[in-house]
Structure formats: C-alpha cells, structure tokens
Amino acid sequence: MAEAIIKIENVHKYFGQVHALDDVSLEIYKGEVVVILGPSGSGKSTLLRCINHLEVYNTGKITVDGIILKSAQNINLVRQEVGMVFQQFNLFPHLTVLDNVTLAQRVVRKRKPEEAEAIALNLLTKVGIEEKSQAYPLQLSGGQQQRVAIARALAMNPKIMLFDEPTSALDPEMIKEVLDVMLALAKEGMTMVVVSHEMGFARAAASRVIFMDEGRIVEQGQPDQLFDAPKEERTKIFLSKVLQI
C-alpha cells in the first residue's frame, strides 16, 4: 500500500448554489474496497462520478492511477482504466447481451471481434449469465441486467471499479445475486469504490466505510468500528435510521 491509486485533494463541486462537494480529500489504495454511505443529497454519488469525470469538479485535484484528470484525452485514458456500474444498469437496449459486452472492447481497446467475444463469454460465465448472451437486455430481469453491466465494465480490464448504488433499483430477491458477484470481485483483489447502503456487503467485503453528509466526509473507519461504534453524532443518527429497517 504505497502509492494511492485514487487521490482526491480538496475537491469542491457546486450545482448552482448547492455545495455538493465541500473540500473532500480522500486516498484510496490498490486492492481496497471502499463503501461510501450517507443520506440522499450528501454528495456520495457526485464524488463517485467525479472520479471518472462524469461530473466536472470546480476546484481541487483528482489523480487516478497517476493521471491527473484535466484534458479531454486524459479523461478517456482514465475511463479505460475505471469501470462503472450504474443504479439503472444503462445497458444498450438495441444490442444483444454479447454485443453490450464487446462493443467498447472493439471500439476503444481495438480488440478483434473473436478476441472480444471470447473475453465477453468468459466474463458472462463468471457472472453466471452465459446462456443469455444472445438475448436483449430488456428480456432480462433487473438482477441479470446488472450482472451483465458488471461484465461489460470488467471487459475493459479496469484497475478500478466504481459502483453507484448498484442494488437500489432491484427487487429484494435479486439483490443477493448482484452482491455475490461483487463479493467475488472483492475477493479477487479488485479496487472497488461502492456507493451503497448494503450493510451486509460492507461488513463482508469493505476494507473501509466512509460516511458522508452535506458534501463532506464526516467519518471513516473499518466497517465494524463505524457501524458498531460510530464517533460522530450525525453518523449515529443516520445509522439508527437505516438499521431500524
């Protein structure tokens, strides 16, 4: 754990008058699984989206794998190394599952179709959905779609995976199949940043849990410490509300 793979320094982000990120600094190391939680509007998704520049931050500095996010060319370089999984899956509905997973490989990585397909089928097998490779996304359940989305992100061989509330749009019985895939990924040593309220996943896989509120990092620590003995009053109130459910 020498050099941080993601280095966020004093980042500020405004949406009009709203101060979405207020002087956020954070270092994430290779192989870490960081879970970010906090009430809605706390800036956790915004922070995640700043890491691959889907949101442009106003001041501060973010370095990903040694590349400072600034110019347009840099951004595409960084995005090739950073996979992202969205709450709404965002699979391409006009392409088959297989083509969803091969498209960026062919277009961005310039892999040959046969090579891209072999990689895709391998990953679809890994997420347990290889028999649906010729189906279209809308023919799949939410859990299946999200697993395809994970395979699609992994196909680019990312060094970092970002998950933006990956289970929030899923029916309860489908959450586990997605979390299982994420757990397996964490065990393989993938660097992961996960915005999620899944306490079970955080306890099982997270090396660090971060609690955010009003655009600031309020508290961070190991999952057991943060969940069982939070230091900050704000964290206690939030956890008491979430854990009641």
């Binding site: 595409n76 995005r79 391409f92």
Partner: protein, 275 residues
C-alpha cells in the same frame, strides 16, 4: 331454435388472438395501393385516348420526380443528422450556427427557396467568382436538377434536423454516460449507442417527411424542371383536356405516396418486431 356454440364462432375468436392479428393488419391497407394502381391501368386500357397518351407523355417526368425525391432524401438524412447533432452541441458556436440554419430555412416558403436557388444563386456564384477572379465560379452554368436538389435538401434538412434533435434527446442520459464511462469518445458514443436508438425513434416522423417530400417536389415545376407536374401542364396545354390530365397526374402522385406510406410502415413494424 337451440342456441349452440357453432364452430364458426370458435374460428372467428381465434383470429382475435393478439399474435394472429398483427400480420394481417400490416397488409390491410395495401389493397388501397392496388386499387389506385388498378384504376390507372383500367383507364389506360379502356380509354387509351387520352389516358394512355398522358401516362406515356409524363413518364419521364414521373422518373424525374422519383429521382429527385430519392436523391434529395439521402442528403436530407445526412444534413438532418449533422444539424441535429449541431442543435444539441455544447459548443456555443456550433449550436448557434445550427440553430440559425434551422430557424432561417424553416421560416421561408419552399417555393421561394427553390426560386432563389434557381434564379438568384447562379448569379451570386458568378459575381463571387468574378470578385475573387476564379474562372470556374465566374463561368458557372446552372444545372436545374442540382439546384433543385440543393433547395429541397437545405429546406427539408432544417425540418429533419429538428426531428433528429428530438430523437437524440429522447434517449436517456444514462446511455451516453455508460458509453463514455467505458472510454468511448463523444462521436463513438453517438455512432454506436445513441444514433442507432434515436434512428428507431425518428423513423415514423422521418418517413412522414419522405411522403411530404414526394408531394413538395411538384414545386420544382416552377423552376424549369420537367417533373411530373410540369409534364402534366405541358400535355394539358397541348391537348386542352384539364380534367383527364390533372386527374391522371393526381392518381400518379397518389399511387406513389400510398405505396411509400405502406413501405415505411412495413419497415417500422419489421424494426419493432426485431426488438
């Protein structure tokens, strides 16, 4: 009388199963195309003078109308995609140029535009060629067909740009984010992810523009193009039979628009079935 369920009702009920309904409905209006074509053929067979003579006289005009429509439409689609992308561009200069283009050319009657291109544009080109001392432009000889295509493409391109803009904007934001997050450039994301989906959305309104275009090409008869309308007028002035001539011209336009309407809706349904 004893009321019993007859096999006949069972049979007719089967036809109401949703899956069986669709294929028959796709073809239901083809009969109208056939009926109009049949009227034209019957008139030609049983009253060759004047109907057969009219059709033979205007057939090159019919070809010009079709060529003009198809060639213009190919360029209209290209202009429409570029214009639509320009209208949603973040770059203020590109956005401004695209918006000005759409606003200006939607606001001038097509007939006035066609007349401008045919009568004014060649003079402008020639005086510009003289100004910069460039003989190819200074000696520009106008070509009615090319100028008619230019006029139609620029005017219809403005309408179709707006259709494409709406189509692109109808695709959820998450689609481009998913594409960009994998390292695709803006143009790659457009080409492989957004436009294929937007094209499906815009197919009905763009198909409608095609039908409109068939009819609007009749305006080129005002600028020395020998299209179907123009040839009809020529026949009429030679033989003084407006009723027969214009009825036949109208039927010929009708059979074209009905045919292409059917073709477009068939293409739409086929695309929907693919989904």
């Amino acid at each position: 009388m004893v009321k019993t369920a007859t096999p006949a009702t069972g049979g007719s009920e089967l036809k109401l199963i949703p899956g069986n309904e669709l294929p028959t409905r796709i073809d239901a209006w083809w009969w109208l195309v056939g009926a109009v074509a049949l009227i034209i053929i019957l008139l030609m067979v049983f009253k060759p003078d004047p109907y057969r003579n009219i059709v033979f006289f205007v057939r090159d005009g019919l070809l010009t109308t079709l060529l003009l429509t198809v060639i213009s439409f190919v360029f209209i689609l290209i202009v429409g995609i570029i214009g639509g992308l320009g209208r949603i561009a973040k770059n203020p200069a590109i956005h401004f140029v695209a918006t000005m283009y759409v606003e200006i050319f939607r606001g001038i009657p097509l007939l006035v535009q066609l007349i401008w291109w045919y009568f004014a544009a060649p003079m402008v080109i020639r005086s510009f060629g003289n100004l910069i001392d460039f003989p190819p432009l200074a000696n520009y000889q106008s070509n009615a067909f090319v100028l008619a295509v230019v006029g139609l493409v620029i005017c219809y391109g403005a309408y179709v740009s707006e259709i494409f803009r709406a189509g692109i904007e109808s695709i959820p934001r998450g689609q481009i984010e998913a594409a960009r997050s994998q390292g695709m450039t803006y143009l790659q994301a457009m080409r492989y992810v957004i436009l294929p989906q937007a094209l499906r959305v815009v197919m009905p309104p763009v198909g409608n523009e095609f039908i409109m275009l068939i009819k609007d090409t009749s305006l080129v008869s005002a600028v020395a193009m020998a299209d179907l309308t123009r040839r009809g007028r020529e026949y009429m002035s030679a033989h003084f039979n407006p009723i027969e001539t214009w009825t036949m011209v109208a039927l010929l336009y009708l059979v074209m628009t009905l045919f292409f309407t059917r073709l477009i809706s068939w293409l739409e349904k086929r695309r929907n079935l693919e989904k």
